[in-house]
């Protein structure tokens, strides 16, 4: 059976070239980067090389980049660190209703510790209204955190414009760019952001390694305390092979950015066209214009996402859903809720994300199978009109 992975936004396989770079750092070149002797210094050099590679992808300086264990840790560090650093200045944070849980749950933690958080609504296309941001700012606002690209509906936010608003008011600006990295061009200087989170496993690098960009001059409390690693800003023996892998993946992502975007957006558009022409009562969620090149978030009315997901899985196809039934909390996607998708439609939503290993044949196969699956489930469904 054909295996088609269409969940590249969840995670990506590590590319062979990336893994090849990593391997020696497990066994031969395993020295602790903090050690003075030769194999320690070699590890340190490997880390600095990777830092250069990753910094280049976002147009940052090397010393503005700090490796973390994930995008999640980078998000936590940014918001909890800023809250701690700036608590004398104020206790108000602004973010959006469509952030990743790494941001939302960090904010909820802060709300229990004396901070106030405004969760901005977004427009029906998933974009933040700059006027809404302006209106939410108070004298007590110390941090604005708005994601670059949404992980569910792929919406690209107007970060440059939003960061400019923050800058005008002298407020720190963070963006979660985990889904943006490798999928949209990123220039931290041009964007004018102060803090930015990224993660390797979304760009064909390994899981368990991320980074926080901290603009030169920005003060931020440490989040993980201990040894002097990462210029004394992030403690813990470095995930050496992980960092090396992140570096190589970033290098490849930089080299391939244009062709990657062209390829996957072409495939994604073809896929949406096929689906919407072959299946009725399908809607595309989120902006078509400002969108992650590989993302297709679709609602199939009258049927439920987990059932679709499992039927597709039986056909070798991997996708994800915003359905409540598939989540541990049984709550429907907060992102689809925020853009006003009715709850019954959220149950019927699937996210397809196309990636570097996707072929047109894969998508043709998925279309055929999906038509069958949707028909079968609508046939079973108690609310289907067909």
């Amino acid at each position: 059976m054909r295996q088609v992975y269409l969940d590249y936004s969840a995670t990506t396989p590590v590319k062979e070239d990336v893994l090849k770079e990593m391997i020696p750092y497990f066994t031969e070149n395993f020295g602790n980067p903090s050690s003075l002797y030769t194999i320690g210094a070699a590890s340190k050099e490997a880390i600095e090389k990777a830092r250069t590679q990753v910094a280049k992808l976002i147009h940052a300086q090397e010393k503005e980049l700090f490796f973390t264990s994930s995008g999640t840790e980078a998000d936590n560090w940014a918001v909890l660190g800023a809250a701690d650093t700036l608590k004398a200045k104020g206790n108000h944070i602004i973010t959006t209703k469509i952030e990743h849980h790494a941001m939302l749950h960090s904010c909820e933690y802060l709300e229990k510790h004396g901070y106030e958080v405004t969760y901005l609504d977004v427009k029906p296309d998933g974009r933040v209204d700059p006027e809404a941001l302006k209106a939410a700012i108070t004298d007590k606002t110390i941090l604005i955190s708005i994601m670059f690209v949404n992980n569910e509906i792929g919406t690209v936010e107007p970060i440059k414009e939003l960061a400019a608003i923050a800058k005008e008011r002298g407020i720190l600006f963070h963006t979660d760019a985990v889904q943006a990295l490798g999928n949209v061009p990123i220039d931290v200087k041009d964007l004018g952001v102060d803090l930015m989170s990224i993660s390797a496993h979304k760009i064909y690098g390994p899981k368990g390694i991320g980074a926080l960009y901290i603009r030169k001059g920005v003060k931020l409390s440490n989040f993980i305390h201990g040894g002097g690693q990462e210029s004394k800003k992030r403690a813990g023996t470095e995930n050496l092979p992980g960092i090396v892998g992140f570096g190589k993946a970033a290098e490849l992502a930089g080299e391939n950015l244009d062709s990657h975007v062209a390829k996957i957006s072409g495939l994604r558009d073809y896929f949406i066209d096929q689906i919407t022409s072959k299946i009725e009562n399908v809607t595309v969620n989120g902006s078509r214009e400002f969108r992650h090149p590989g993302n297709a978030n679709l609602t199939f009315e009258f049927i439920e996402g987990e059932a679709m997901l499992l039927y597709l899985d039986l056909r070798g196809i991997a996708v994800s859903t915003g359905s409540a039934c598939s989540s541990a909390s049984l709550s429907p996607s907060h992102v689809l809720s925020a853009i006003g998708v009715p709850v019954e439609n959220i149950h019927g939503s699937l996210r397809f994300t196309v990636g570097d290993f996707t072929t047109k044949e894969d998508l043709d196969y998925v279309v055929t199978e999906l038509v069958e699956v949707v028909n079968k489930l609508r046939n079973i469904s108690s609310i289907s009109k067909t």
Binding site: F302, I303, E304, E306, A307, L310, Y311, D313, L314, S323, A324, C325, S326, A328, L330, P332, V343, E344, H347, N379, I380, S381, S382, I383, S384
Partner: protein, 149 residues
């Protein structure tokens, strides 16, 4: 797909008794699309025995499998026996469900009661197993659990 066992997957992939009965003797709907699961069961009753049952379900894998196995279970039972079917029995028949999916079997159990309730109403019958059963009140209950769980 370690989530569901083989029996559940079997019923989910090839559900039994899908559809609607023309001239059903009783028909019950339970759940709501807002909760992500809604089940409709039609029954045919002769001499107080459930001769046939069909279902339509909007819901997850375990909701569909529960519907399938529940309709299987009640066909051939007397109405009283069918009313005695618990969601626990449905789960047992399925060989178990993930803890978080238990509520989907409650759904089947309630849909059966609703269908029998409808049958009883239409035919002026009363069953011990229906005492205290109010399809609408329960609907609220379920709604609650759909928010809370």
């Amino acid at each position: 797909m370690a989530m569901y066992n083989d029996k559940v997957m079997d019923h989910f992939m090839n559900p039994h008794n899908v559809g609607e009965l023309e001239n059903a003797d009783g028909s019950g709907t339970y759940g709501s699309p807002v909760c992500g699961d809604m089940m409709k069961i039609d029954i045919k009753v002769e001499d107080d025995v459930i001769k046939d049952a069909k279902f339509k379900t909007f819901g997850c894998g375990s909701a569909i499998a529960s519907s399938s196995v529940a309709t299987d279970m009640i066909i051939g039972l007397t109405v009283d026996e069918a009313l005695a079917v618990t969601n626990k029995q449905i789960i047992n028949e399925l060989g178990g469900l993930p803890a978080i999916k238990i509520h989907c079997s409650v759904l089947a159990d309630h849909a059966i009661k609703s269908a029998i309730y409808d049958y009883a109403q239409k035919n002026g019958k009363s069953y011990k197993g229906l005492e205290g059963f109010d399809p609408d009140a329960d609907e609220d209950d379920h709604h609650d659990s759909c928010e809370v769980e």
